[in-house]
Symmetry: C2
Subunit: 278 residues, 2 copies
């Protein structure tokens, strides 16, 4: 009685709709969400709930950002079993059980780490560092990126335009990696983190460098998104929505330009404003 | 050099705003996000990124839903160190290291578990069950709850009205536990899960029963929210936003009524529609 997963990005269902005191049965589209289990060298590592697209990129990006897969060169093979929602990642070097960090540990690392360690009030967050020894693997060259406000407006319009799922169902987050004048990689997912991981994975497999690129997001910028951008070496995050205080604090310390509420011809620059010009 | 955490719910910052090709320095409000580390019997358990309110409820609700704290009677003491962002939970019975489930494991359990186990395509999700033996601790009496559509419209309006943070900053999720005619418990947080955990914790400490109550949410309904509702024994979830396919599938199997897009005088009923009447 094992059903296979449905890999459409949306699923049609029968619903009952109440509208102005009238009740009717109608057809509606749901955003599809599936459980994806990632195996590393045959060992079960983590299960993510995600949209059923670009599962290989999601697995690779997730493992890269968890510090387990430093580069494309460390990858031996990826196999995706779409029907069962499984991804098997084989690395060139065996990974000991102790080396595998807990996949969901909130870990702050990156170039701002020393500062964070000293200043963070809840230092524990910054001390429990399974990925600490891997810091050097994330390269963080200085960025000379500059982008015009007008370019950010156009990029955000292009991001929202590319997001077909959102239009259909109202339930996904869109993320893109962009140059000032164009979107290079795009993903959408029920989870904001998954969308970032998918873009990170696709870029890593294409040997893309990050230090002259922009991370665009349709959703809110939480601290964990900033940490991911820092790990990748991205100099600028632009979101249609709000950042949190911790994301602004981290972006400030990590040297990342954080732009929020990019809507129409307006935007807010929270940190390192010099990278955005009129 | 250890700074204390700022426990205001919002933080004023200087930003640069670009609007219609004009650039200005302005003051803006950010939603405050802090790292909170939860200790169980002196052992560090998990760090959550959250809004700095109701931290005791968040810790208790999180541990309850993780299966570690079955009821108020199992609780010896809660101490909150607000300045450092730490919560110390002491239980009456010692907890062995092996008994502590990984705090972030995606675990599906509850009354629908057997069915899920049989039917779930990625059965692994439903097999890795640190909390499995604790199933019986979540009581799931049959619910005879019925709510009028008009009551749901009013509850959702009240939820959004109560959400002062969202109005100020545009960056939080609101959750409430309600009876058809009134909201009983309310919380808001940068994280949807935290908001649910806070309400769960506050209710548990007040010995509230769930099987005649409604879970209201301003945000999207993902599978994990449905799992939490199932663990608590909640018969109805009503959201202003969209559910995912997996949340609808689980709600169907778990006997939970799932209502989405509650806006103005409209709503969509995805599962077990009999609990919503005109």
């Amino acid at each position: 009685m094992m059903e296979n997963l449905n890999f459409d990005t949306t699923i049609a269902v029968e619903i009952e709709r109440i509208r102005e005191k009238r009740r009717s049965k109608e057809r509606d589209l749901l955003i599809n969400e599936i459980p994806l289990t990632i195996f590393v060298n045959e060992r079960e590592y983590v299960t993510l709930f995600c949209s059923p697209r670009k599962l290989d990129y999601l697995a690779v990006g997730f493992l890269h950002l968890a510090g387990l897969l430093p580069s494309k060169d460390d990858l031996e093979e990826i196999k995706v079993d779409e029907a069962k929602g499984l991804v098997f990642v084989r690395m060139k070097v065996p990974v000991g059980k102790k080396e595998m960090p807990s996949p969901n540990s909130p870990v702050i690392l990156g170039k701002g780490w020393e500062a964070l360690y000293l200043e963070a009030p809840s230092a524990r967050v910054f001390k429990t560092l399974p990925g600490r020894k891997r810091r050097a693997e994330f390269s963080q060259p200085e960025s000379s990126l500059q982008v015009k406000a007008e370019e950010l407006f156009q990029l955000m319009a292009a991001l929202l335009n590319a997001s077909s799922l959102f239009k259909a169902t109202g339930g996904v987050h869109s993320v893109a990696l962009a140059l000032p004048h164009e979107i290079l990689f795009f993903s959408e997912d029920v989870g904001r983190h998954n969308a970032v991981d998918k873009v990170a994975g696709e870029c890593m497999l294409s040997n893309i460098i990050f230090h002259d690129k922009i991370l665009l997001s349709s959703g809110r910028v939480s601290s964990e998104i900033v940490v991911k951008a820092d790990k990748l070496g991205l100099p600028l995050i632009a979101s249609r929505a709000a950042p949190t205080s911790l994301s602004v604090e981290l972006a400030q310390k990590m040297g990342i330009t954080l732009v929020g509420f990019v809507r129409g011809s307006r935007l807010n620059i929270y940190t390192h404003a010099q990278r955005v010009v009129l």
